[in-house]
Structures are given as structure tokens and as C-alpha cells.
């Protein structure tokens, strides 16, 4: 195929769409994550609301061309509010046979698929386990296939820049991006600027990539593009006015911790040991040292939580972060923080499966671990973030609750929220309410376990103040003196007060609201964490269809909001969709004896809106 001359063909007017889901998929070396994030940025700048879903292989460098080496990035964007990364892609860009193979099942019928025919070699087809070339038989009949030799197009476009063949082919993703920019009428300039910045040291690479992108864009505009493929426009969404940026859950979480510590006027000491997908929080915070953040890469998770506890003991806010397997190791130390009543924020970016499971796939199956997973009666506050932007607020709130009530707080995120991005209205830090300074100063009558009458919190008295010298530890202590005590009645009393203290947090949090629908009726769908978007859209669709359904989404999982019981009782049925085998459902049943139904999925993939709708309809038919 020749390089298309940039002669615009007469264009049909662009068709207007309300929302679209695009998925870029290719080999892990093809730069699909970069392509996706550039498309995200351009889309955000065009005023659409959006949500993304990056999905990458577990292997660092999986062999090229294999199905397990496929990396994908999905963007759902629209002229309306976007709540999920989209059920089924409308458009797939498949850079090789493996990418086509892996993603085909997700596509909606009639979906548009761009394939790079240049990558459809016999060898690649074999590696992707295709018996025959799917482009040459009728197996793809239910889709609109656009075979383009993107490889050749790219090589042609970047020829003037004198790159090696390998380097030249690397620009293929930018060619594809250019094409999709044309398809949705996006401005390529921000990506061009970004490329110039990224390759500042090698301007010829920047130029080549920009040329490839422009060539892809031009390809769309010229006669080379078959007539049945027309271009679209997705008008800007109605968005609350303000200053915006795109954030991933990881960024928002890291910033929330920094801002939370600032509002409490405390130094943030963040201690962690690398684990997917939690490591990114450590990476982000390690770059924020100019804001007074201390980051510590410990020798293991136990050391990480230990250091965080030591930091809190010494008067900073200690934060530790991990994923399920690492949180398991932290259990004993969290118990120590509970017993010694020290502030501590524990972040769990959940991932799939018991043991090592599926590190790069998402799940919400650490709820039991968070609520119950420690020795002894060791109540702990547990919160969950629902979306990338929400991570900010939840992190700030975790710092507030932990320091105010002198107790550890577990914050549940997951692999999906951590990596996904969405537009986020940037808050003005000056306008945020500062937390009360909490260090104890009064020497008269001091002992380390006297309690605040309202919060039941013990005094925080970090070393440094003469006259407040004291000893704390994990051994049970006397309610009245703070000294070590094995007295039976005292242990009962201390156990009760620790529970009461955490319960009191229930009064410090907003009462549970109903996101969508009315506060009583036939069916409440109760969710937590990253299923927010799918549930919310499903409930909206159901309400539009005239069904009496409501969406309740929990931020506080322990203690549960005190009004939740009454609220749930006012619906005939309760459905709890979770990416686990029914953990919140069990908690709700145990706490309230409500006959909650479960909708459970542990495939490592987020819920589709349609799955939730179907389950709700089935339940309403019974």
C-alpha cells in the first residue's frame, strides 16, 4: 500500500454520538498504554466526560505476538456523564492477530475493528493460535472490519527521519492514534507537544512519531478510507464548571494522603514494600518529597507497617500500603496499632485471588480480610474508594478519622481504580477544613490511656515532651492506669471500649445516602468500591425503564453507617453485586439479618452494566 496523499475527500457530515467506547489493543511492546492515555487526554480536553480501563499482561516482557502478551487500554467517553469504562467496545484497534483474538469476544455486534494487516503474518497468526487468517474467511462477519497495512503506512510516513526499521515501526501506535483522532475529530496538538517533550533528547524520534500520527489522521481524511466508515463527533458533556485534570486512582490517593496530612498539620511518613498494583502509590509519593513526604521502601510488608506505626508513635501520620498478600503479613502489626490506639492508615489496592492470585487483575475480595482478618477482637475502621477521583476524598477522610479517633483505618482500593483515569475537578486546598491539632499537652493527670469523653480516643503524646514520658505496648493495659494488666474484668472493659470507640466513628461519618432512586421501594442495589459506575448506570437504565430500583453505595464498610439498617429494611429486596463471592452480602446479613442477594463475579474484569441490569430484572420478576 502506498502512503496516502493528504488530499481531503468530500466528507459526509460527522454523525453525532452520545457516547463511545474505544479499545486500543496490541502487543505489550506496542505502546498501547501510552496511546490510550494520550487519547484520554485529548478526549478530556475536548470536553467529554470519560473513564478508562487499562488492562496489561502479568509478564513484564511477554513474548511478542502471543495472546498472553496483549496489552489493552479502553476509553469510554461521552456527551453525558460517564460512569464506567464501557461494557463492549464500539471500536477496537488491533495491532496484531493476538490482540484481535483476545478482544474479539468483548466487541459489540457491528463494532468497528481496525487491524494492522502488516502484522498479520503467518507466524503471528500461529502465535495467536488462529488456524486460518480471520481476515480472509467469514468469521468476522458480524463486525465492520477495516484492514489497513498500518506498518507499511507508518514506515512510509517516517522514512525521512532516518530511523532504523525497528524504531520506525515503533511509531505505529501513533499512526493508529492519529487515525482514531480523525475518527472522533480530536485535536492532535496536545499529543504532538507531549511527544516533543518526551523525546526532547531525540528530536528525530519526536518528529517521526508526530509524522506518523499526522499520517494516520490524514489517512482518515483521504480517499483511502472506504466510504462506509464515516467520522463521528461526540459533543462536550455537561460538566460542573471548574478546573479539571485527568487523574488515576493512584495519583488521587497519593495526593489525598499528602493533603490529609497537611490538614492535620502532620508530616506524612509513607512506608511500603513493592507489590502490584499497590507499588504505584509508593512511586507517586516518592516524587513528592518536596512536600515534606517521607517515603520508605522497607525490606518487607511487616517492616513497612512497623515503620508506619513507629512514625505515628513519634508524632507523624504513618501510612502503609500494599495489596492483599502484603496486607496479610501486616495483620499482627495492625493489631498492635489497634491495641496501642495509634493512628495508622493502611491502604489495600486489592487484586484477584487468594495467595499470589492474579496480580494485574482486579477483584474486591479482601473485605473479610479488612473487617475480620486479625487475631483477637480487633475492630478497625474500613473505607472503600469508588472511583479514581474519589480516592482523594477517601484518603483525606482516612487521615482525619485515624488521627481524631486514634485508631488504624483501612482504605480499600483495587487494581481497577488504581490504574483507571477520569476527569477530576481539582479542589482548592485553601478551602478545605483543617483538622484539629491532636497532640496531648496536659501533664497533670496524664496516663497514656485516659480517654476523650466524646471520641473515646486516648491521648497522642509523641516523645519529646518532658513530663509525658510513658510506655505503651501490645500487652493488655489497665483502663484506669494504662499499666499492663491481665485482670479478667479489665480485659472485658478494654475490649468493649475499643469496640465502642470504633463504633463511634459511625456517628462521625455522614449517614448513608441513596445515590439514585428513592429511599424505599422494591429493590436496593448495594455496592461498594469500584463497582460504583456499573451499578449506577445500570440503576439509571432500570429507573428509565420504569422499575423501582435504587442504588446505595457504601464508602464506610466498618463501622457501617448507623442508618443503613433502617434504610435497607425499607426495600423489598436487596441485591449486592461484588467482585468476590459475597463478602459484603455476608456482612450485611450478619449485621442486619437482611435477606440480601448476591451478584458475584471473579473473572478479574469489572462488571458490565448489562450484567447488573439482568440480575436486577431477574430478582424483580421473582
Amino acid at each position: 500500500m502506498n502512503v496516502a496523499p493528504a488530499v481531503p475527500r468530500p466528507q459526509a457530515p460527522r454523525e453525532e454520538l452520545e457516547s463511545v467506547t474505544v479499545r486500543f489493543a496490541g502487543d505489550s511492546g506496542d505502546g498501547m498504554q501510552l496511546t490510550g492515555s494520550q487519547f484520554t487526554l485529548a478526549t478530556a480536553l475536548a470536553g467529554n466526560d470519560l473513564a478508562t480501563f487499562p488492562d496489561f499482561p502479568a509478564e513484564i516482557r511477554a513474548p511478542a505476538g502471543t495472546t498472553y502478551g496483549v496489552s489493552a487500554f479502553q476509553v469510554n467517553f461521552g456527551a453525558r456523564e460517564i460512569r464506567t469504562s464501557g461494557d463492549a467496545p464500539d471500536v477496537l484497534v488491533a495491532m496484531n492477530p493476538a490482540a484481535l483474538k483476545v478482544n474479539l469476544d468483548d466487541m459489540c455486534t457491528g463494532g468497528l475493528i481496525f487491524v494492522d494487516t502488516g502484522a498479520f503474518t503467518k507466524r503471528n497468526l500461529q502465535k495467536a493460535t488462529f488456524d486460518d487468517n480471520p481476515l480472509e474467511d467469514s468469521s468476522l462477519a458480524k463486525f465492520r472490519i477495516m484492514p489497513i497495512d498500518m506498518s507499511a503506512q507508518t514506515l512510509g510516513a517516517v522514512k525521512p527521519y532516518g530511523l532504523s526499521n525497528k524504531e520506525a515501526l515503533r511509531c505505529k501506535n501513533m499512526w493508529a492514534l492519529g487515525l482514531v483522532y480523525w475518527l472522533y475529530d480530536r485535536d492532535i496538538r496536545p499529543s504532538a507537544d507531549w511527544l516533543r517533550q518526551k523525546f526532547a533528547a531525540r528530536p528525530e524520534l519526536a518528529d517521526a512519531n508526530i509524522a506518523a500520527m499526522k499520517a494516520g489522521h490524514a489517512f482518515g481524511e483521504t480517499a483511502e478510507m472506504p466510504g462506509e466508515i464515516s467520522a463521528y463527533t461526540v459533543p462536550p458533556a455537561k460538566i460542573e464548571p471548574g478546573e479539571y485534570r485527568a487523574v488515576t486512582g493512584t495519583e488521587a490517593l497519593a495526593w489525598g494522603l499528602v493533603v490529609g496530612a497537611h490538614l492535620a498539620d502532620l508530616k506524612l511518613v509513607f512506608c511500603s514494600y513493592p507489590i502490584t498494583p499497590a507499588s504505584a502509590v509508593l512511586h507517586t509519593l516518592a516524587n513528592l518529597r518536596q512536600h515534606g513526604v517521607v517515603t520508605f521502601q522497607a525490606e518487607d510488608e511487616i517492616a513497612a507497617v512497623g515503620a508506619a506505626i513507629g512514625a505515628s508513635f513519634a508524632g507523624s501520620i504513618g501510612v502503609t500500603s500494599s495489596s492483599g498478600p502484603g496486607i496479610a503479613l501486616k495483620g499482627e502489626a495492625i493489631g498492635l496499632a489497634i491495641a496501642t490506639e495509634l493512628p495508622l492508615v493502611v491502604i489495600n489496592s486489592q487484586r484477584a485471588g487468594p495467595s499470589t492470585g492474579m496480580p494485574t487483575k482486579t477483584e474486591q475480595s479482601d473485605l473479610y480480610q479488612a473487617v475480620y482478618g486479625r487475631n483477637g477482637d480487633s475492630p478497625m475502621s474500613v473505607m472503600a474508594a469508588r472511583s479514581p477521583g474519589d480516592c482523594f476524598e477517601v484518603a483525606v477522610e482516612a487521615v482525619r478519622l485515624s488521627t481524631k479517633h486514634m485508631t488504624p483505618v483501612m482504605l480499600l482500593s483495587d487494581g481497577y481504580i488504581a490504574n483507571a483515569a477520569e476527569p477530576w475537578r481539582i479542589p482548592d486546598v485553601t478551602g478545605l477544613r483543617r483538622f484539629d491539632r491532636m497532640f496531648h499537652k496536659e501533664i497533670e493527670g496524664f496516663h497514656p490511656f485516659i480517654r476523650h469523653p466524646e471520641t473515646l480516643a486516648r491521648p497522642w503524646a509523641p516523645p519529646g515532651v518532658p513530663g509525658l514520658e510513658h510506655r505503651i505496648g501490645g500487652l493488655e493495659r489497665d483502663y484506669d492506669s494504662g499499666d499492663v494488666s491481665y485482670d479478667p474484668a479489665n480485659h472485658q472493659r478494654m475490649t468493649d471500649v475499643r469496640a465502642a470507640k470504633v463504633e463511634l466513628i459511625g456517628r462521625d461519618i455522614p449517614p448513608q445516602n441513596v445515590e439514585l432512586g428513592s429511599d424505599s421501594g422494591r429493590l436496593a442495589i448495594v455496592g461498594w468500591g469500584s463497582t460504583f459506575g456499573s451499578i449506577n448506570r445500570a440503576v439509571e437504565n432500570l429507573i428509565d425503564a420504569g422499575l423501582e430500583v435504587a442504588h446505595i453505595h457504601l464508602r464506610h464498610i466498618w463501622p457501617l453507617p448507623p442508618n443503613l439498617h433502617t434504610l435497607l429494611d425499607s426495600y423489598d429486596k436487596v441485591l449486592v453485586p461484588e467482585m468476590n463471592s459475597g463478602q459484603l452480602r455476608t456482612v450485611l446479613r450478619a449485621e442486619y439479618l437482611v435477606p440480601a442477594h448476591g451478584l458475584n463475579k471473579v473473572t478479574g474484569q469489572p462488571f458490565r452494566i448489562s450484567e447488573i441490569e439482568e440480575a436486577a430484572r431477574r430478582l424483580l420478576e421473582d
Binding site: 464548571p241 485534570r245 499528602v258 512497623g306 513507629g310 504513618g318 514520658e469 510513658h470
Partner: protein, 340 residues
């Protein structure tokens, strides 16, 4: 508790807490406590800046008995908590107290890492070659063949040498002391306190209940002079009741031998001098064991390097956010933003 009016000079008693000490009568821990309290008084450390952090075990009860700040934590993890406290407030004067099981079994990994990181603090390992608190099981320092409830026919695990471990972990200060030696113990602890960086002190401690006399081969007063060598920087490595025994490098080898001055033509000139900055020598001294060698006590190694906290980005002493609203607004707006 109200702030007691303190005299200008604090005595060892002022550093003792009001708690009853609950070790078995005759336990070596009492002597160590006494030595530490004396050290604190000798140094006149400010109690409000001093923190004792321990793991779990008999030894780890230590913080309860000192009237400074203290944290009795969980088994083996005291080094991690001490590291975090230092990250939060580099000005704290921290003492880590650990048993041999605590420091070298469950906490072996953390001990390795705290030593290589080198934060400025004192790390005391009370070595009694047994698990005391859990009733006498063999420990990682127990000799092969140690009979215990869990090894009724004798343990088969090869023991770890605490001092050699510390040297291997790149500790910059390694010393040894004996619980009952009330003159030498505080001296060694004072050196440890003066050292800028992590100072590791192994203290031979007698567990009278589960391992009584395990160190008597070199601690018994009657023959201590012949079985211990007190090493001092720049001084000849001489010992013995008659100060007639010395350590000599076997010519042409990296081996040490004990020579008797006056025998076989050996004179004082043949005896090595202690150089505490010499890592090789420290390793040789740490490896010496009875019956062929005396046990080396004192500062085996001291070669300061930049302490960990000197590299911390923000050295705010006590809490206190060091960033401003403006800085944070800038952080949130770094990169691409747009206005709707």
C-alpha cells in the same frame, strides 16, 4: 502523673520507672537494667527525648522499667518500629532492646536491614542462647546439641554468631558486653551512645531458669581473666590474670593464635594491637570462642559512616506539615489541566 520536679542531676533511680520489675530472681536482665540506668545517668540523657523500643521476650519487657518514652511492640519487629520513629523524628535518642530469638529468628531480616541502613540508635541484643519467655526452647544462637522442650534429643541447627552477623550486615559499630560486668557494661554502652549511627551491642545474659551458666566458661569470676579479652582501640590484645597472654597473627596466614609472652621467645612485640576500624580484625575477634580462644568483649568494630537520617528529605523534628496550601495547589495542578 504530674511532672515531678527533677533535680539538676538525674541519678540512675530517676531513670527507673515506677513499675515492678518482673524477671525471675537472679536473671541477668536485672544486671543489664542496672547497667543501662547507670549509663543513662552517666550521660544525663534528657528523658523526654529518649525512647526504648523492644520486641517480645523476657528481654523485651525492658521499656516498662525505664522512665523514658517506651514502646513494647511485637516479636522481632522492634527495628522496624524504631526505624519509623526515626523517620518521623530524627532527634529522638532511640534504644532498641531485643533477645536473641527476637533479633535473630523472627526479626533476623529486620536486624539485617536496620544495621545496613545505619540510623543513629543503640541496638542491644540480650543473648541468653535460649527462648526465655516461651519456656526454654533452643534459639538461633544455641549450640548444636542444646536440649530443650522442642529439641529433647539435642538441637541440630548450626548457631549464628550475633557479632559476626552484625559485621556481615555492614554494621558500623559492633561491641560485646557481659551482663554482670558492671564496670565494663556501662562503658561499652556509653561508647555505643556516642557512636553516630547504628551501634550494635551483644550482651551475654544469663537465663537462670532455662540456660543457667551457658556462658560460665568465660564469665565465671575465677577464670574470667583467662577466658575473656577486653579489646580497646590502640591497645595490645593482651589478656590473662597475669597479663601474659596475647593474640598474634600467625605469620603468612589470616589466622590468629594465642601466645604466652615469655614462652617460646614471644614478647609483647609479637602481640597485635586492636584497631577498631579494621573490619577484618573485627571479624577475627568476633569469631573467637572458648576453649581455644578467649571471648572478645568491648568495642570490636567502630568505623562511623553517614547515619541514615542524614539523608532524609525533611528533617522536621516533631510532626508538623512542612508544605503550604500554595505548594499543594501547585501539586494538584501539575501537568495538563483545563477549565470547564
Amino acid at each position: 502523673m504530674s511532672a515531678p520536679k527533677l533535680p539538676e542531676t538525674l541519678t540512675a533511680k530517676d531513670y527507673a520507672s515506677d513499675q515492678d520489675v518482673r524477671w525471675c530472681p537472679g536473671c541477668g536482665d536485672y544486671a543489664i537494667l542496672k547497667g543501662v540506668l547507670k549509663t543513662l545517668a552517666d550521660l544525663q540523657v534528657p528523658r523526654e527525648k529518649t525512647v526504648f523500643i523492644s520486641g517480645i521476650g523476657c528481654a523485651a519487657r525492658f521499656p516498662y522499667y525505664v522512665s523514658t518514652y517506651g514502646f513494647h511492640t511485637i516479636h522481632g519487629r522492634a527495628p522496624t518500629i524504631a526505624t519509623g520513629a526515626k523517620l518521623a523524628n530524627p532527634e529522638l535518642d532511640i534504644w532498641v532492646v531485643s533477645g536473641d530469638g527476637d533479633a535473630l529468628s523472627i526479626g533476623g531480616n529486620h536486624m539485617l536491614h536496620i544495621l545496613r541502613r545505619n540510623p543513629n540508635m543503640q541496638i542491644l541484643l540480650f543473648n541468653n542462647q535460649i527462648y526465655g519467655l516461651t519456656k526454654g526452647q533452643y534459639s538461633p544462637t544455641s549450640k548444636v546439641g542444646t536440649r530443650s522442650p522442642s529439641t529433647p534429643r539435642g538441637s541440630v541447627d548450626s548457631p549464628v554468631s550475633a557479632a559476626q552477623f552484625a559485621l556481615g550486615a555492614n554494621a558500623r559499630f559492633v561491641a560485646r558486653a557481659i551482663d554482670t560486668d558492671q564496670k565494663h557494661l556501662p562503658e561499652t554502652l556509653k561508647r555505643a551512645h556516642t557512636h553516630d549511627g547504628a551501634s550494635f551491642v551483644e550482651i551475654f545474659q544469663n537465663c537462670i531458669v532455662y540456660n543457667d551458666g551457658v556462658f560460665s566458661a568465660f564469665t565465671e569470676r575465677a577464670h574470667a581473666a583467662d577466658t575473656q579479652i577486653h579489646v580497646e582501640h590502640g591497645k595490645p590484645l593482651i589478656f590473662g590474670a597475669d597479663r601474659d597472654k596475647g593474640l598474634r597473627l600467625v605469620p603468612g596466614t589470616l589466622d590468629v593464635e594465642v601466645v604466652t609472652i615469655g614462652d617460646n621467645g614471644f614478647t609483647e612485640k609479637d602481640v597485635m594491637f586492636h584497631d577498631e576500624t579494621n573490619h577484618w580484625l573485627a571479624a577475627l575477634l568476633a569469631a573467637m570462642e572458648p576453649p581455644n580462644f578467649p571471648v572478645a568483649v568491648g568495642v570490636l568494630y567502630c568505623d562511623p559512616a553517614t547515619p541514615y537520617e542524614a539523608n532524609f528529605p525533611q528533617n522536621t523534628p516533631l510532626g508538623g506539615s512542612v508544605t503550604s496550601n500554595d505548594d499543594l495547589n501547585g501539586m494538584l495542578r501539575s501537568g495538563h489541566t483545563w477549565t470547564v
